[in-house]
Structures are given as structure tokens and as C-alpha cells.
């Protein structure tokens, strides 16, 4: 596909792929509502901000957007949310949801990191802060996001005693 040299990835997702789940918030890389997940060849995954990163940066890279997480039926309808999404819904982690795609992607990256290397319970609070702390939410004050993330990590067996 031929796209402009200076097209930001968020515009590519919205305008060229009709993937509108990633949110354009601040447009300056601060709020992280726009992050997608990039799967690295070494098996790790990371968040990348699409509002300040050009679409061409992603050429040849495997990218997951918020639309990738839930299970869908043949018609494309969502049949089952992934455990993080479900937990965020169950625990009312968000209200307006503008920040939710970013938080879900950040928590997904964290889950994948801990799947490779589980963490001691004593470090859980810090690792959640380090992984999600840069995301901005103006509704719920972060406590519900924090609690839901802690609970889903524990339920998934990613937290060791200690």
C-alpha cells in the first residue's frame, strides 16, 4: 500500500484500515491512549505510541491493536473478551473508556512479560505502577485499574509468593 511518508500510525489505523479502537488523545505521546502492541522477533512484546510514530516505522513489524484481543465469531462479532478486558469491565475500571484501549494493551504487555517471568508478590505493586503508570485516565482515578490488574495477574497465576 502506498501511503504518505509522514503519515502517523494512528491515522493509518483509522483512515486506511478502519481500525478505530486506538484512541487519539493528546496527540503528543503523553496520554498513551493510542498505544498498540508490537511483537518483537525475540518473543517479547512492547507498547508503541501511534500518535507520535510514523506508519512507516511499523513496516515489517507484527502489530496488535485493541481489536485483536477478544474472540470473535465468523461474522466478526465479539463472543468473549480476553481476561484483562473482562476484568476491567467487571471491576468498573473505566467510565468514559477513552483511555481503556491503552490500558488494556499495557496490561496485556505486562501479562505477557510475567508469563515469561512471574513476579514475587512483594514487587507486584511496583511492577503495575511501572507498566501502567504512564497511562492517563481522567475518570476513575486509577485505583480500579490498579486493583483489576492486580487481580487478573493473580488469577492468571503470574504472581509468586514472596
Amino acid at each position: 500500500m502506498d501511503i504518505p511518508d509522514d503519515l502517523p500510525m494512528i491515522d493509518y489505523l483509522h483512515e486506511y484500515k478502519n481500525l478505530t479502537g486506538s484512541r487519539l488523545g493528546c496527540g503528543q505521546g503523553i496520554c498513551h491512549a493510542c498505544v498498540v502492541i508490537v511483537d518483537n522477533p525475540d518473543g517479547t512484546s512492547e507498547e508503541v505510541r501511534t500518535c507520535i510514530t510514523g506508519a512507516h516505522y511499523f513496516e515489517g513489524k507484527k502489530v496488535r491493536t485493541i481489536e485483536a484481543h477478544a474472540k470473535r465469531d465468523e461474522s466478526g462479532q465479539v463472543t468473549e473478551l480476553n481476561p484483562i478486558q473482562q476484568r476491567f469491565v467487571d471491576e468498573f475500571a473505566f467510565q468514559c473508556s477513552y483511555c481503556a484501549p491503552g490500558f488494556v494493551n499495557a496490561a496485556t504487555v505486562l501479562v505477557e512479560k510475567l508469563q515469561r517471568q512471574p513476579i514475587a508478590k512483594s514487587k507486584l505493586e511496583q511492577v503495575i505502577e511501572d507498566s501502567l503508570g504512564h497511562h492517563v485516565c481522567r475518570c476513575t482515578g486509577y485505583v480500579r485499574y490498579y486493583n483489576a490488574t492486580r487481580n487478573v495477574l493473580t488469577d492468571l497465576g503470574l504472581v509468586k509468593e514472596g
Binding site: 511518508d5 502517523p8 505521546g29 510514530t53 510514523g54
Partner: protein
């Protein structure tokens, strides 16, 4: 007799407020001088009480900790007399007679007049004493043998001499004192030789500090990077100018020192650095894309991919977000070291006076392959830095390998 007594009483009554006014003036002057001498930079730990010490200063000889210089009698300098304070400031002598490590810039302060030392001491006596010991510096052998500094001091302690002010303006002379003595700018902006002493024959030609270049401050070099006197004093006052913002080691210098100096002194510093007859600031000529090297042309796409979101596609920057690349002083440095380091390390959020700030810049150390970084550097330097020299991948890899081992996050 009664008449005489009345006059005496009157005289004593007048003398007390006069003395007190003098003391107040001395303390105020001392506060200003301490700011100009940037005592805070080394004697305050991040988030710590002012002047209570504890800042680790990484040197090739080990880590030296800034000491507590509050008036605490036990942990600070509360027992220092004016004489002892002057000896510490200008000779690197501690009250107990031991030698201070030359991380304390007595190699510059030794040119400070006694009255300025006394004023700084008077001011430091008025601040809150912090009853807390700063971490003890313990260097490995042989650098832990403080008497070993006796010979060093004889050779280098007072080696710095001021240039003659003959035929120079008053601003130039004041600027020399502000830059060379109080500001001790040369301590970082001068290369150091093997024994860790400034190479005074290369004074202010630039030095290396924690993997970054403290650039040359010679007038011709400043002018070649686009500096004029007005921009230079604006840069010192506000931490930013058309040429970019203060970052890395200069950011705390701006915060603790230069932003609090008066306009006259800042102008004097710029006058001294650029000279009474400053060379003309070199103007940048626009270089079109097709005139750039193939590497630089490829670099444009790297720029659009990872830089343009904040620095704007045309390199004009965005107010309160990211500085302009076009004409940026770091791009205009012949030595690409700082540009490599800042792209790799990123810069933390920067707060300036009032509501002014710049957003944090992420580091790209693990995002760009050496080839991509080289292309990007060539684009930035050739397109907006007025540099015609082409960097090879091997040049960039050499600079990458020269990064400090300690994790470093620029301000």
C-alpha cells in the same frame, strides 16, 4: 557630660541598625554569589534538603559525594571560621587540615576575593542546619590517600590565571569573573589530562562529562554554532533560546544558578564568552533534500518515523513540547557525540520558569539499528545543522560503545 552621653547613646543607637543593614546586605550578596558559584549543584542531593550534601559525583577515580555545607556543627560547616571557609573554597583545605578532592572547584574559586568568600559564608550561616551526615566518599587506592593531593595541588591547585583585562570593557571583566571563577564553567568545558587536572592550554575548548560533550565555549566555536550575545544570555536566563534548551548536566546549572542571575551579569558572561567584538553568528543555509547524501536522504524517513511527531516534519519544533531541530545547537556541533547520546538516552521532562516546560523525550537506544541511527544523524546534521561531513556507521558505533557504563538519564 550629659550632652556627650546623649551623643554617645545616639551613636550606638545608630550603629546597631547600620551594622545590621551591612550584615543583611552581606547575606543577600552571599546568597547571590552562592547561586552564581552554583554551590547547590553538588551540595544538594536530588529531592534532598538544600546544601545538605549527598549528591554522588561520578569521576574516573570513583564516586565523590557532595558534603553537607549547612551550618550544622556536627555534620556541616557550622564550626568553620571565615578563614577556614576561605581556605576550603580557595585551597581545598578542610577544617581538620585534610585535602578536599578537586571535585570541589577550588581550582577555579582560588581567584575569588576574600570579601566574596565571606559573603557566601555569611549567607550559608543563615540557612537551616540539617543534622544529617552526607555519605562518606571512599575512593579506591591510591586516590583515597588525601595527602597525595598535596603534590597535585602544588601543580594544579592555583594554575588557572585570569586573562589581563587591559583594553577590555567592564562587562568583559565582570563576565570573566562570573564565567571563570564563580561559574567555574571551565571545570567541565575544559578537557582534563591524566591526573584529572584541567588542560589549561586548551581552556574552554570542551570536555567530556559522563559520556557527553561539554562543548567548546570559544567565541569562534560559539559563533559557528549560531550563538550571538543576546541569544546566549537569553539561554542562560530562560534555559532556552532559538538554539534549543539546556539539557543534561547544564539543566541543573540553569535551575540552580543561571536563571537566578541578574541581566547585567548574564550579559557580561555573554560578552566575555563572545568577546567585546564578537564574531558574527554563522547563519544556516537551507539544504534541499536532493543535495543531501544518500544516507541523509534515507535518514529523512527515520526522522519522519520517530522524531517528527514531536519535533514537526519541517524540524520547526512545537512550543512547550519539543525544541526545533532547524539550527539546534546540538546539531550544529561538529562532534556528533551529544546528538548520539541524546537520541539514545532521551531527555526527562523539563520544567522552566513559570508554566514553561518541555515534554520528556524517549530514548531510542533499542529502537534504531546503527545503520538507521547513522542515516538519521546525517539527515539532522546535514539538513539542519550545517554540517557537511558524512558519518559512517563505524563512527556511530564507536560513539555508542563510548557510552557511560552507569545508566544515565539526561535531564
Amino acid at each position: 557630660m550629659k550632652h556627650l552621653l546623649t551623643r554617645l547613646t545616639l551613636a550606638v543607637g545608630l550603629a546597631a541598625p547600620l551594622l545590621s543593614a551591612h550584615a543583611d546586605d552581606q547575606v543577600k550578596r552571599g546568597e547571590y554569589l552562592a547561586r552564581a558559584a552554583d554551590c547547590m549543584a553538588c551540595h544538594t542531593a536530588p529531592g534532598g534538603a538544600p546544601f545538605a550534601g549527598g549528591l554522588p559525583i561520578v569521576s574516573p577515580f570513583g564516586t565523590i559525594y557532595g558534603t553537607n555545607i549547612t551550618p550544622s556543627k556536627e555534620h556541616g560547616i557550622g564550626q568553620y571560621s571565615d578563614d577556614e571557609f576561605f581556605a576550603a573554597l580557595t585551597e581545598g583545605k578542610r577544617r581538620d587540615g585534610a585535602n578536599l578532592y578537586p571535585a570541589m572547584p577550588y581550582t577555579s574559586y582560588h581567584l575569588m576575593p576574600r570579601e566574596d568568600s565571606d559573603a557566601i559564608h555569611a549567607y550559608l550561616k543563615t540557612i537551616e542546619p540539617i543534622e544529617r551526615a552526607a555519605p562518606v566518599t571512599s575512593l579506591s587506592f591510591p586516590f583515597n590517600v588525601r595527602p597525595g593531593l598535596i603534590g597535585w595541588n602544588m601543580l594544579y591547585g592555583k594554575a588557572l590565571k585570569l586573562e589581563s583585562g587591559e583594553g577590555k570593557s567592564e562587562a568583559w571583566k565582570r563576565g570573566q569573573y562570573m564565567v571563570e571563577v564563580l561559574g567555574h564553567c571551565g571545570e567541565c568545558h575544559t578537557p582534563r589530562g591524566l591526573p584529572g587536572a584541567m588542560q589549561l592550554d586548551k581552556r574552554l575548548t570542551g570536555g567530556i562529562l559522563n559520556g557527553y560533550l561539554a562543548p567548546s565555549l570559544l567565541a569562534t566555536d560559539l559563533a559557528a554554532r549560531g550563538w550571538n550575545q543576546q541569544d546566549l544570555s537569553t539561554f542562560l536566563k530562560h534555559g532556552m533560546s532559538a538554539q534549543g534548551t539546556m539539557f543534561n548536566e547544564m539543566f541543573p546549572v540553569f535551575h540552580n544558578s543561571t536563571q537566578g542571575l541578574n541581566d547585567q551579569d548574564l550579559a557580561a558572561m555573554a560578552t566575555f564568552l563572545l568577546g567585546d567584538k564578537p564574531p558574527a553568528a554563522k547563519e544556516l543555509t537551507e539544504v534541499s533534500l536532493d543535495k543531501l547524501s544518500p544516507s541523509a536522504q534515507r535518514g529523512r524517513q527515520e526522522y519522519l518515523n520517530v522524531c517528527a511527531g514531536c519535533h514537526a516534519a519541517g524540524g520547526e519544533g512545537k512550543p512547550h513540547i519539543a525544541v526545533a531541530m532547524r539550527g539546534n545547537t546540538t546539531l550544529r556541533l561538529e562532534d556528533p557525540r551529544n546528538l548520539v547520546r541524546v537520541i539514545e538516552d532521551g531527555i526527562g521532562e523539563q520544567k522552566f520558569a513559570g508554566f514553561e516546560h518541555m515534554q520528556p523525550m524517549p530514548g531510542f537506544a533499542d529502537k534504531l539499528k546503527p545503520e538507521q541511527l547513522t542515516d538519521l544523524l546525517n539527515y539532522l546534521r546535514q539538513g539542519w545543522g550545517g554540517q557537511s561531513a558524512e558519518l559512517a556507521v563505524s563512527d556511530v558505533q564507536k560513539l555508542q560503545a563510548d557510552a557511560p557504563a552507569v545508566e544515565h538519564k539526561a535531564h
